[in-house]
């Protein structure tokens, strides 16, 4: 089979650098890992990095120390290039569906070593199949922890994204719904399908600092990241929602901690109703007293 000379020279060096297309490029990771496992590449001999094609000011991010990075620039392989390598025949590694989705989620986490961790676990699994059933293995526990945090962020994003209408520019005159959100992990793409299924007949966009996603009634388009000042201002209709939030609160049951556990402060700055919280909490005691007296 024909081999790419540059690639094979990269393989013979001390370590390989794999360059993924995005910070959450799980498919690329999977493709690369398949080849690396077939080559039995040792985890410590593989470095992972990714491009930030959509971020405005962020160049390619290296996942390891800068001086090391300097010495390997130009020798990074993409998963596609890796796929050109001749492979010895091997048994492919089989994973359960839920393990695969845990890995996929873990790769959305913002931990720099996420790909290395996942690869290390896969590599260990290849040499010891019993690991597959070991829910207490420390690498696997860490992967689960990442997946859980990323999954939670996706869930919170589904919950806390708030759209505001902006007059549309399209011919049909339909308003565009725009939201600004600052996710802690690289979850925008993973979270977008939900909005597509929920709002296929409305034009909407979610802007985040890293990248943005836009639904044009037919497809999801990825676009560069934004800044908070590009987000739309509150519109008049938002007052109705604030009124509802105020009225549905029962001051006799004040439980601030329970609220904060589910809706941590870090989300407040992008939730319109959060400006009411301190006023409602402050007034609660007095209102309850009055109810008990009347």
């Amino acid at each position: 089979m024909d081999t790419n000379p540059e690639s094979s020279s990269a393989v013979s060096r001390d370590f390989l650098v794999i360059e993924l297309a995005q910070p959450d490029d799980f498919d690329g990771f999977r493709q690369a890992a398949r080849v690396l496992l077939a080559l039995n590449a040792e985890p410590h001999a593989v470095r992972w990095r990714f491009c930030q094609p959509l971020a405005q000011q962020m160049p390619t991010q290296d996942l390891f120390a800068a001086d090391e990075a300097g010495s390997v620039v130009g020798r990074a392989l993409t998963p596609d290039a890796l796929d050109q390598l001749p492979l010895p025949p091997t048994q492919p590694l089989r994973l359960g569906k839920s393990q695969l989705s845990t890995l996929r989620l873990a790769c959305c986490h913002n931990l720099a070593g996420r790909f290395a961790l996942c690869y290390r676990w896969l590599h260990r699994l290849q040499s010891d199949h019993r690991l597959r059933l070991d829910a207490l293995d420390s690498d696997w526990r860490e992967i689960e922890r990442l997946a859980k945090a990323a999954g939670r962020e996706i869930h919170k994003m589904h919950a806390f994204v708030r759209f505001r209408p902006v007059p549309g520019t399209e011919a049909d005159g339909q308003a565009m719904q725009i939201a600004w959100f600052e996710p802690e992990h690289h979850v925008l793409r993973a979270a977008s399908g939900f909005f597509r299924r929920r709002f296929p007949n409305m034009r909407w966009a979610i802007l985040t600092p890293q990248c943005s996603v836009y639904w044009d009634l037919e497809q999801l388009l990825l676009a560069p990241g934004s800044t908070a000042d590009q987000a739309p201002e509150p519109d008049a209709g938002e007052q109705l929602w604030l009124t509802y939030y105020r009225s549905t609160f029962n001051p006799a049951r004040l439980k601030e901690q329970a609220m904060q556990r589910e809706m941590p402060r870090k989300y407040w700055k992008n939730l319109p109703e959060a400006v009411l919280i301190s006023e409602l909490v402050a007034g609660a005691r007095g209102r309850t007293q009055r109810m008990l007296q009347t």
């Binding site: 997946a147 869930h155 939201a179």
Partner: protein, 449 residues
């Protein structure tokens, strides 16, 4: 009156109802539809009020005018609260607007009774009809049903709504007689039975149709057939007010257990009687018994997910009341120490479920983990379930609590102390619980983790 003023009155009037969750509808979205909305299993809490409650649905009354005079209700005829009434179109517009902003999963609509039960029910159904038919709305709709409305209206309501509920209101017929004299316990039960039958029927039809459906070959045209008639796919729920009459916890759990068994209810919600402005003189003037409400939810979970029978949960000698200091599972274990320590490597699942501090999910993980190894203390720590509570009642390969400690009369006191030092997180059980990203099915069950 402007919409915003009505909203403020009619949301305020609805806020005492706790049964406001959206769950139990799977795989519905708007792809290929004309409108918007989806329901993908677990509903989402889009916000939280400072009372710790999840805001998932637009929870309002169509109107707070009412011809009845239920003592515990802020909307009763004799209350001098300000009144308002939405038109069906206003409610539809509000629901769509909040939904579009991604503030809610759908609508929870209830109403005071105006003119007659049928007239009121017609108005509620009209809102749901318009959302579904005029706007192809596929979000969640929960309708509170008027028990004595005509059966045709009940049937129609179930076509449009995901969930129907009829409030049982009070734990016993005597309580209802005393505090809501115009309501009739028999009628409430019989309406619940009707709804249960409708749900059952729709499920059966759905099943038999699925069984007979043609499996198309890959690439061939999918055979389209009429969807089976839907009827409240999210089931039915009810709400019971706690602390407004003198019913004991034992009486409450007996009633709940009957509702789960008899009418297949999805949830019974317990609502600690809340002080209301302009309260009736027949009612206790006191802060709402929130801790009691919490214990009842815990007891309710023991019945539904932990294999406890209602009569086991309230302990003999307690005067029919749950222990307020301890969660009911811990209280049960302390009263039944002869069954402990439980050997985590050998005990069957139903006994693991009785270990204080072990939630359904932890039990699943333990069962998984012990297949491959003999569990030790370190494994428990790794699984993050080595709490003081658990350790007092279990034994492991390298851990054996002393018999004397387990039998000590001081154990209760010691546990209480250790718990108050540890992280005592009282998850509010009336609400939907967090953390649904990964463990959508089981996170709800972790009340005792």
């Amino acid at each position: 009156m402007e919409t915003i003023a009505k909203l403020s009155i009619l949301a305020d009037a609805a806020k005492y109802d706790a049964s406001c969750a959206s769950s139990g509808v799977k795989g519905r979205n708007s792809l290929g539809g004309k409108g918007m909305g989806s329901s993908e299993g677990m509903g989402i809490c889009h916000s939280y009020a400072p009372d710790g409650r999840c805001i998932s649905l637009l929870k309002i009354l169509l109107t707070n005018f009412c011809i009845y005079d239920c003592r515990y209700c802020i909307n009763r005829k004799s209350s001098n609260v300000q009144r308002a009434r939405f038109t069906a179109a206003e409610v539809v517009a509000l629901t769509l607007d909040f939904y579009r902003r991604n503030c809610i999963e759908g609508l929870f609509l209830s109403s005071g009774i105006i003119q007659s039960s049928d007239y009121t029910m017609e108005q509620l159904v009209e809102v749901a009809r318009s959302l579904r038919e005029d706007h192809d709305f596929r979000g969640y709709i929960h309708l509170k049903t008027i028990p004595d409305a005509a059966p045709e209206l009940l049937a129609l309501a179930g076509r449009y709504a995901d969930r129907l509920s009829i409030n049982i209101e009070l734990p016993t017929p005597e309580g209802l007689q005393q505090l809501a004299p115009e309501k009739n316990a028999k009628q409430i039960q019989s309406a619940m039975g009707d709804v249960a039958r409708h749900i059952q029927l729709a499920k059966q039809e759905g099943r038999s149709q699925a069984a007979s459906s043609i499996i198309s070959l890959p690439g061939s045209q999918r055979v389209r057939r009429a969807r089976p008639p839907r009827y409240a796919p999210g089931g039915q729920s009810t709400q019971m007010i706690v602390g407004a009459d003198d019913a004991s916890d034992a009486a409450i759990l007996l009633t709940s257990s009957g509702l789960y068994g008899g009418h297949g209810l999805r949830r019974v919600y317990y609502s600690a009687f809340s002080p209301i402005p302009d309260a009736s003189a027949d009612l206790p003037l006191q802060a709402p018994p929130l801790l009691r409400e919490h214990r009842l939810y815990q007891a309710d979970w023991l019945m539904r997910f932990y294999g406890f029978a209602h009569q086991e949960i309230v302990l003999p000698g307690s005067g029919g009341m749950l222990d307020l200091e301890l969660d009911p599972k811990l209280a049960w274990a302390l009263a039944h120490r002869q069954h402990f320590p439980m050997n985590l490597n050998r005990a069957p699942k139903e006994w693991l479920l009785r270990v204080p501090g072990l939630g359904v999910r932890s039990v699943q993980r333990l069962l998984m983990a012990r297949r491959g190894r003999s569990l030790r203390l370190a494994d428990l720590q790794q699984l993050r379930i080595a709490t003081a509570k658990v350790l007092a009642f279990v034994e492991l390969a390298d851990y054996h609590p002393r018999r004397a400690d387990l039998e000590s009369p001081l154990l209760r006191q010691q546990l209480l102390q250790r718990m108050s030092h540890g992280v005592v997180q009282q998850k509010h059980s009336g609400m939907r619980l967090p953390d649904m990203g990964l463990s959508a099915k089981t996170s709800q069950l972790s009340l005792f983790d």
